[in-house]
């Protein structure tokens, strides 16, 4: 009996302690370590566009580390490689749902992956904050837990078309639509706007696996002023630009955000980007320095794909941190609810971050850059 009583007391005390730990966790320095959870990183960490995914993952990890350091929290990240492939993303999605420590997802990178997994994450109340999926209808309401830290193609497509016609005085434009969820959606937006502007436009579709564009460039009209490309691999945009020169066509390549990588460097070409060059933003200097020292990188390694991933991860951990500060346990559902209330006064992208009720970033805009002789970009719109 005596033994039973002693055990009962121990058990009762343990139960009280455990229930206390589970119910009341406040993100104060005293118990901030209890504010924890996993940020799932869905990115193409291997495969043909792994350079995008690796940079997104690095910036996302940096954001989580920065937040932990500042707030004494214990958030961690876990990598899920999607290879920018919808099928691979679908394979990984149940693993993320099964991990009950998941508080949100930074990613996926591609719109096709969101189309494949957004429903599952929505049904499980897991926030998905993509740093690069720009297809317009992702925020049409089908995926209630989807957010993005970048503007969408309803801003990019018409914006780019307007820029080519109104600013660059294009009379004839060729659109190369890569057959991906991203490329198709964007090309449709651009074609619709060009039709509105009454500009002659011809669209050619190409398979994602295509690598040689000589035959396609031969089809481009000699009177075409621009070739608008929707590739997600800038080496393809560069290949088209050089092939145009070789075949003595006057058209200049205008790449969408997928082309905003250092490999696209032909002088005089244009590219639109969903994020500014953060190297020109003084308040982002600490993040840049942190990135370079943590991952042994240089300025040249920082593309516009990384910083939005920093913001996406920051949105998730800040939301979870607010849950903890309110005295609750940060889980996926409570973090999702908090993400809608996101208000970052000045993000690493240089401006404030808040979301519409559909998950789009408020006040987002695209930036148009022109490539200079040394391969650098000059902001022109």
């Amino acid at each position: 009996m005596k033994k039973f009583s002693r055990l009962s007391v121990v058990a009762l005390s343990s139960a009280i302690a455990l229930s206390g730990a589970g119910a009341v966790v406040v993100a104060s320095p005293a118990n901030a370590a209890a504010c924890s959870g996993t940020v799932a990183i869905m990115a193409p960490l291997t495969g043909g566009v792994a350079f995008i995914g690796v940079q997104q993952a690095e910036f996302a990890k940096l954001a989580v580390a920065d937040y932990n350091k500042k707030n004494g929290t214990s958030f961690i990240t876990k990598d899920y490689d999607t290879q920018l492939d919808a099928a691979q993303a679908s394979t990984q999605a149940p693993n993320i749902v099964a991990d009950k420590t998941t508080i949100g997802i930074m990613g996926p990178a591609g719109s096709q992956e969101v189309l494949a997994t957004g429903g599952l994450f929505g049904a499980n109340d897991i926030a998905v904050v993509s740093p690069s999926a720009t297809r317009t209808n992702l925020t049409a309401g089908t995926y209630p837990s989807f957010f993005r830290s970048v503007p969408n193609d309803s801003q990019q497509g018409p914006g780019d078309a307007d820029f080519m016609v109104k600013n660059l005085k294009a009379k004839e434009i060729t659109v190369i639509e890569e057959k991906t969820a991203y490329g198709t959606g964007l090309a449709t937006e651009v074609m619709a706007q060009l039709k509105k502007l009454k500009v002659k436009a011809t669209k050619y579709s190409v398979n994602e696996k295509n690598a040689d564009y000589a035959a396609l460039v031969t089809r481009v009209s000699k009177t075409s002023d621009f070739v608008f490309v929707t590739f997600q691999d800038a080496a393809k945009s560069e290949s088209v630009a050089q092939e145009l020169i070789k075949q003595k066509k006057k058209a200049v390549v205008f790449g969408s955000d997928g082309s905003d990588q250092p490999t696209f460097k032909t002088k005089g070409t244009y590219v639109s980007a969903f994020a500014p060059d953060i190297k020109g933003i003084p308040s982002s200097a600490a993040v840049i320095a942190g990135y370079k020292s943590t991952y042994n990188k240089t300025d040249a390694d920082i593309t516009t794909f990384g910083p939005p991933a920093y913001v996406a991860a920051q949105v998730i951990v800040e939301a979870a941190g607010r849950v903890c500060a309110a005295g609750k346990t940060a889980d996926a559902k409570s973090t999702l609810a908090e993400i809608f209330k996101t208000k970052i006064a000045k993000s690493v992208l240089g401006g404030p971050i808040a979301f519409t009720d559909k998950g789009d970033v408020k006040g987002g805009r695209f930036y148009v850059f022109q490539t200079q002789a040394d391969g650098s970009r000059k902001l022109v719109g």
Binding site: T46, A235, Q247, T266
Partner: protein
């Protein structure tokens, strides 16, 4: 007419690259009767080696040697290095499986393919590298016949592809190793009984096949620029298709299959559909298989009763 001419130039250049890859498949199949599905990734390694030779020589804009010498070294070092890799692959992934079921080396080949891809990403990083060809060979350099333009890179690739194919034909037909290779392809047991060092010939086969793939990889880098760990899959598949169309195991067949595939791909993109050129390419493969099951240059196998 000039449009057709331009598409033929595009197709022949592409076909030259496919033919060099196809030759590797055919050489190995001819000698060992195995499908070396790691061949596309060997091509990728060749492209990377060419890139790093270019960097070692000062990079595309600050080369420490004249451009022709840089190109020669890019091809030579890449071909030798990748050829040696071919020997290593044969020694560790295929030789232990000699005499086993036909499926075993196939699985081993797929394993080597994934291993090479991931090793390349680990060693060279995930970034897409660029040969930046236009920095040392201006895109405007070349000549025109009417409206058909042939730039200097295409000229280089075409000449080199045909030169390598010619050299391979001479090597197979005129050298002792080449004759031994043909003997093994016809009847391995008889070749062994005649005193042919079968291991030596197989080593040569893998070396030459991989070296040709490396040349194709460097050509791809010069033509299309992008070099990445995942770049080998599609060209590998196309090279294999070309080898099958030509008649796998046949050297002239691999050459003809590659050139035909490149031209068909270019013409379908030019006249039919830019999106479904692969569809027409594989329709061609099916048609050839139906009409000539052993490929255009393949011979019927004689099987002992």
């Amino acid at each position: 007419m000039s449009y057709l001419g331009q598409q033929l130039v595009n197709g022949l250049t592409l076909g030259g690259v496919y033919a060099l890859i196809a030759l590797g498949y055919s050489l190995v199949y001819g000698v060992l009767q195995i499908l070396n599905f790691a061949h596309g990734d060997v091509y990728m390694v060749g492209a990377f080696l060419g890139y790093f030779v270019e960097l070692a020589l000062g990079g595309p804009t600050k080369s420490i040697v004249p451009v022709p010498i840089m190109l020669f070294l890019m091809f030579a070092i890449s071909m030798i290095g990748t050829g040696l890799l071919g020997i290593v692959i044969e020694r560790f992934a295929y030789r232990p499986l000699r005499g086993s079921s036909r499926i075993a080396p196939l699985i081993s080949a797929l394993g080597v393919s994934i291993l090479l891809q991931n090793a390349a990403q680990l060693i060279f990083s995930a970034n897409i590298r660029s040969y930046d060809t236009s920095s040392f060979i201006p895109s405007t350099l070349g000549f025109s016949i009417g409206d058909v333009t042939i730039d200097s890179v295409r000229i280089t690739v075409l000449i080199l592809a045909f030169a390598l194919m010619f050299a391979l034909s001479r090597w197979v037909n005129k050298t002792q190793v080449g004759r031994a290779m043909r003997a093994i392809a016809i009847d391995r047991d008889a070749a062994v009984m005649m005193g042919i060092d079968i291991d030596k010939v197989i080593r040569w086969t893998f070396f030459v096949g991989a070296a040709l793939a490396a040349a194709a990889g460097v050509m791809n880098g010069l033509l299309l620029r992008g070099v990445s760990s995942g770049m080998g899959f599609v060209p590998g598949l196309k090279g294999f298709t070309a080898a099958v169309i030509g008649g796998i195991g046949s050297i002239p067949g691999a050459m003809a299959g590659g050139l035909l595939l490149g031209v068909v791909e270019s013409l379908t993109q030019g006249y039919l559909s830019t999106n479904f050129s692969d569809f027409y390419t594989f329709i061609l493969l099916i048609a050839v298989m139906l009409l000539r099951p052993n490929g255009l240059f393949g011979k019927k196998a004689i099987v002992k009763a």
